[in-house]
């Protein structure tokens, strides 16, 4: 268990750095979680993060990478719906890393 210090508040994280209480998430927390891993979030990152949050809201799960890739292709175009593009944004794995910044649990079916 670790914590994220932000604006004088301690936010609880699990052993892999995911938010323990998903309801606490704000965009600022997303930025801070990324900063902690030396990532500056760009609009391109946010497109994926926003998409993940909407997907979770609708289906109650974070999509597996394969599902994410296909869905991004449909939504944002073929040039973005491929693993090369997604890994260029999230080199530790688009599912695991983007879900962390999005304040979601690790994707179901993440192996």
């Amino acid at each position: 268990m670790s914590t994220l210090e932000l604006n004088g508040e301690s936010i609880e994280l699990d052993e892999e750095g995911y938010l323990v209480d998903l309801s606490l998430w704000t965009r600022e927390i997303g930025e801070a979680l990324a900063k902690g891993e030396d990532v500056d979030l760009t609009d391109e990152h946010w497109d994926i993060i926003d998409f993940l949050r909407e997907y979770y809201e609708e289906y109650q799960i974070a999509p597996a990478v394969r599902v994410l890739t296909k869905a991004v292709g449909k939504r944002l175009g073929k040039d973005k719906g491929n693993s090369k593009y997604l890994y260029s944004l999230f080199p530790y794995g688009p599912g695991k890393q983007a879900c962390k910044y999005a304040g979601l649990p690790k994707p179901t079916g993440c192996v």
Binding site: A64, K70, T108, C110, V111
Partner: protein, 134 residues
């Protein structure tokens, strides 16, 4: 990896026991291995995919919307027992409209639910290489 025909047989109502949720999680995980997955909803399992589920009164997470994501996971064959619905005073109209999107057909939505009688269900079961029961 060789593709095998997997069937998940769901026979319990959701929420009263943990079987339905456990099955759904294993189904989603198995999809990551790109197998030929189908689901069977028999007996009280048909209650897992009824529409309009509202769990606010029992304080449990409503996971019914997750079944709508199955199409994204290439799970497009949900066999539902006609007799099980009839015995419970239900019809296909009481079930969620579960579909998958066909990427090769301009993302057209196609139905995932396949209504079958007992003999048809038995025939589908007989084709499977791996059967997991919940």
């Amino acid at each position: 990896m060789a593709t095998k025909k997997f069937m998940f047989v769901n026979r319990k109502a959701p929420y009263g026991t943990v079987y339905a949720l456990e099955s759904l999680e294993v189904v989603l995980i198995s999809a990551a291995f790109e197998q030929d997955v189908s689901l069977a909803f028999i007996d009280d399992g048909v209650y897992q995919i009824t529409k309009g589920q509202d769990t606010t009164g029992i304080g449990q997470k409503n996971f019914s919307n997750t079944y709508k994501a199955l199409g994204d996971y290439e799970i497009k064959k949900l066999y539902v027992s006609k007799e099980s619905l009839e015995e419970r005073g239900l019809t296909q109209d009481d079930l969620m409209d579960l579909v998958w999107e066909d990427e090769d057909d301009d993302w057209a939505e196609k139905p995932s639910i396949i209504m079958v009688d007992r003999s048809e269900m038995a025939a589908v079961m007989a084709e499977q290489e791996v059967t997991l029961s919940f």
